[in-house]
Amino acid sequence: MDSQSRGIRMDRDLLRQCLTYHGESLFNKLKCEQIENPDFQAVVSDLCKATCESKSDGQDSPLVEQFIARKADILFCPTWKTATHKEEEEEQQEEEEEDAAEPYAIMPPMEIFMEVSYEERRTMLYRDLEKGDILVGRINNIREYGFFLTLLCTAGGLRRDIEDLELSALCHIREVPSTGSHDDPLSYYQIGDFIRAAVKDIDRYQEKITVSLQQAALSPGLEHIKLGVFPREALPIHYSRSLRAAADSRETYECILKSCHGYHNPSVVEYLLEKVGVSDTQPPSMMRGLQSKLFHEEDFASAIRKRQSASWALKCVRAGVDHFKHGRHVEAMNEYNKALDIDTNNVEALVARGALYANKGSIMKAITDFELALENCPDHRNANKYLCQTLVERGKQLEEQEKLVTAEGLYRKALSLDESNPEAQEALHKITETIQVSIRLREEAVAKEQEKATSSQTSAEKLRKILKEEKRMKKKRKRSASSNPSSTASSRDSSPSSSSSSSSSESSRRRSKKKNKRRKRGSKRHRRISSKESSSRRSEEGKSKKDRKEKEEEVEWYPAPPNTSATFLNQKGGPRFGERDEGEAAENDAEDKRISQLYSLSAASEDEESDSSQTERKRRDGKESRTGERKNSQREERGSRSGERKSSERGREDNGKERRGSDSKRRSSVGENRRRTVSCSSAESAYSRTSHFNPEYSGNSASTSKSVESRVRHDAPKRNSFDGGRYENRGREEVEEAKGEKDSRKGEDENVPGSGRKSEGAGNHTRPSSLTSVPEGSVKKDLPTNLLDIFNQIAQFKKGKGGGQRK
């Protein structure tokens, strides 16, 4: 019977106390019952003495002693006591609040009903009263050295009936806090005042109590109780109840208990259980079979339910897989969803559903499922394998859309899951090469930009000068550039500076190298990719944007801000879900047509056009990135949580960088955004549509509507700089580049809130735009007649758009 108690020590003091009370007979029974208990054998010699001191009269029932003896290993086990000292201190703290709310019946001290003798109560009080306890009394005498209290009741620490014990306490003047330096502190006190005071000292021998009104004299648990004078109504509840009981002998303990509204508190049991420190979830029992520690965790309801749900869900998954094998995809999906309903985050169901999604082409959904599965079970082989494959698949999709960096990230992630995946290795190898080529190109551009940027930074004066100069140059250039559109093959018309269309752009480049670099880069890139589909060209141009966009989109997908649906830009964000892909594809197609039309006009104009369309997009981005930022970081967290583990680090890195890009860009476009207060989504969509058409035409034309154009232009440098920042995460040049960007942006920022003219200047200064400020007439003059029609169209468009914007 006692084998369970091995290893548990017995509380010697408690045993001694018990034996002193019960005497020899219990000791004998104990020795008999606990003979196998080594813990008892260890303390038995100590206890002999206690038994001898016993004052037991042998009245106790032998049955009770038998019980104590048998259960001694439980009763005197130190872990049997669950209430801790901390709980007891907290209990004191609550006392004051309980008086007000009374969560349980606050009863008068029992000795009132027991009619314990005066002497015994007095002795008990002097024995049990401690420093820091609170006493309540009335002032009966005031002397120059302090005042005397007639004690009425206790109010904290100890609860006893003391009213008729004829106790008085001295409060020395030192213990009265002085309110002013010049006043006698005692002048505030009058005979008859109710005083709450802390026990300062008890002279148990002389039976003298001194009290204090200093808060510091209180015991730690009672510090919040305010000492000093208080009104009669604030007397403790138990005191008024004891008065009631003393006045009327019919007021029994039971009557008072049942009249307390705390007694009727429906959760009084839980409250008091906590107060006395007994656990109700691991309830104590003297029955050996009911010792809570013997119950196994896996036998508890929650554990069983979990296992049961898991197996039930697994059954559904099996049914789903069966459906899947027979090509009944809908039924399979239903089973998987049911399984996940039953057991959220069931790994098998997630993997199976992910596989089904992947099969159906919803790659992002598939990835989400796999990642969730891996989060719950990082070593799941199929989940790892499938996720790896899906990531490569997704990477290829992105690669096709020229989102090289994101694609590369995905390949790396795939490799981190499965190092030996040949597909991923190959893809990563290929994409790294591609990226490096473009970095080289970019590097050059960045170097140029930086030069320019530093020069622009020196001072506002200088800047303005430069701007003016540049504007002048630009006007000239614009003339040449605007002529370019028409000059794919031959038109070496009225452009003042040009000999041929290509040479005209060349010459303008020579004239302002800094800007041209940028442009050259653009056109170069364009040439490099020209064999590809125009959509891919575009997406390459806007790649960084899209990358980021995509991230934002991921973020925004769930909460779906009101304008998302209306924005073209969001849809550009790369396919995330099946329908979306299609929508985007359609959009792209339409655009491609338009673009290819323009292509035929001139390389330079293409450059322009894509630039400004970027601009629009970016402006939007800037705006959204502000909202998206917070979410972005959330997403990061989520991402890292979602089981990417190793790869998440990389992803976060990229993300962080890109975010920095968007950050700085956002900064630059704040001014713009402030001006543009679009609240109604229809206006927004209208705007986005126009702004998306606009660049295409404005690319060819010199600006017809200046104000609009200048706004576009104004954004352009940001786009450029961001474009430059696309490969930021590639190497150390990124840092310089970013710096360059910032510099150039600083220049812009100065101009941002300014007039269209100023911002135009700013735009020009970083960008080889040749359009803006040329008077319409002069442009038209320079143009071949076949473009005039287009210009007219544009003018109409812009009117509409201008109106829309001003809204």
Binding site: L14, Y21, P109, M110, Y253, V276, M286, F295, A301, K315
Partner: protein, 256 residues
């Protein structure tokens, strides 16, 4: 009233068997056997209660429901464990700590087939569930829908608070009187004694036994502390409760 489930061995109501009457009428041997059975079933209720995370009061209600049911019905007429399961379910409702039948069935199934696999959610499971629900209705009818009881728990806790202030705080804090009396109170429900005695008496008796066990001495006045707490209680009452309780502990050794 007859449930569709085969596990509910329903016999039509027999004459009511009050607890005391049963003792006399059934003969010593049968009574003893019945008491042991009840003890085991109550042990099952307690253990299930802990595993279901039920508080003490709902478990106590479940036990009282069980004992009252078998006060009126013959043990041989109904499957006691099924009744116990339904009592747990019903007690959860009565005491506002709702417990799902699914959890009750799971825990019980594991109790009877320890280490076995968990139940599938199949026909067997649903049959069991039907049995529990049907049996709940049976209990309700048998008890005439009187399913709300006063328990000693509330009394005991208030008594504890009062007695505590009689004792030196240091002596009190090293003596686990609260734990012991609470354990004793919970253990009371192993037998029909929990419905034979009034709640106050049970509370006082458990507190008395706990104080006795540790040799805690309370001040003596003209009246004993237990006389104060409950005016009509006598020493004989307390001794009766304690003796019933100690009998349960004796039975523990015999049953298990």
């Amino acid at each position: 009233m007859e449930g569709p489930s085969p596990s509910l061995a329903v016999l039509r109501d027999r004459p009511v068997w009050p607890a005391a009457g049963r003792r006399q009428s059934g003969g010593e041997a049968e009574t003893d056997r019945d008491m042991k059975k009840h003890f085991r079933v109550c042990r099952f209720i307690m253990e299930t209660g802990v595993k279901l995370g039920m508080r003490s009061v709902p478990v106590a209600t479940a036990c009282v429901l069980y004992h009252r049911f078998f006060q009126r019905a013959r043990l041989q007429a109904y499957e006691p464990y099924l009744v116990a399961m339904s009592c747990v379910y019903l007690a959860g409702k009565v005491e506002e700590q709702h417990t799902r039948t699914r959890d009750i069935i799971n825990v019980s199934h594991r109790y009877f087939n320890s280490g076995s696999v968990t139940l599938e959610c199949d026909k067997e499971f649903w049959d069991l569930r039907d049995s529990v629900v049907q049996c709940e209705l049976l209990i309700l009818r048998q008890l005439n829908f009187h399913v709300s009881f006063e328990h000693p728990h509330k009394y005991l806790l208030h008594y504890l608070m009062s007695v505590k202030s009689l004792v030196n705080r240091h002596a009190w804090s090293r003596t686990p009187v609260a734990e012991t009396s609470w354990a004793l109170l919970r253990d009371c429900y192993h037998g029909a004694m929990c419905i034979r005695h009034t709640p106050q008496h049970i509370a006082i008796a458990t507190l008395h036994l706990a104080l006795d066990s540790y040799g805690v001495e309370l001040p003596v006045g003209d009246r004993e502390w237990w006389q104060v707490l409950c005016v009509d209680v006598t020493k004989a009452d307390i001794d009766a409760v304690i003796s019933d309780l100690l009998q349960l502990y004796d039975m523990e050794a015999k049953c298990i």
